[in-house]
Subunit: 108 residues, 2 copies
Amino acid sequence: MLQQEKDNLVFKALANETRRTILDALKPGPLTTSALTELLPDLDRTTVMQHLNVLVKADLVIVERRGRERWNHLNALPIQAIHERWIGEFAGYAADRLAKLKRDLESR
Amino acid sequence: MLQQEKDNLVFKALANETRRTILDALKPGPLTTSALTELLPDLDRTTVMQHLNVLVKADLVIVERRGRERWNHLNALPIQAIHERWIGEFAGYAADRLAKLKRDLESR
């Protein structure tokens, strides 16, 4: 697959609020599809599965099968690639430092 | 505007290959709309302006007017926010280090 096609899958996957909420839910750690469905009471299991499939095709979620369970992991690499594309390594360090400084000042 | 609405503007702006190419062109530094149109020979000026307007509404591009010129600047803050949302400060540092290590190893 061309990089441009991969990028399209990533950005179209992220252009949906429900899928962003699913990624938020997976940030602290992997969840089974059942646990994820319980966390999102507005959605039925079929809808959650459909959104997960879009995220898996975009490589934003990696599925690990353990017996009959399906554990969904957030994959940070495509997110890191967005950062590298438009901010880059050194500017990214500076931006991190600035964001930290802002938080420190706001927490005083 | 709610944060969710702002996020929708950002991700819908990024979900278009031409707009991503415009941001790539602005990464090294700001450009006038004329200079940007020259860099993108497949697009006419009206199309470039339309895409720029979507990027400005998403706060991904900031416009600076100097006399009759319109200088377009890439704004990295919404990109940094994507990184912070799903990677976070400390994991981001680790991810940066890993990406650097990978580049170092590949360049040997």
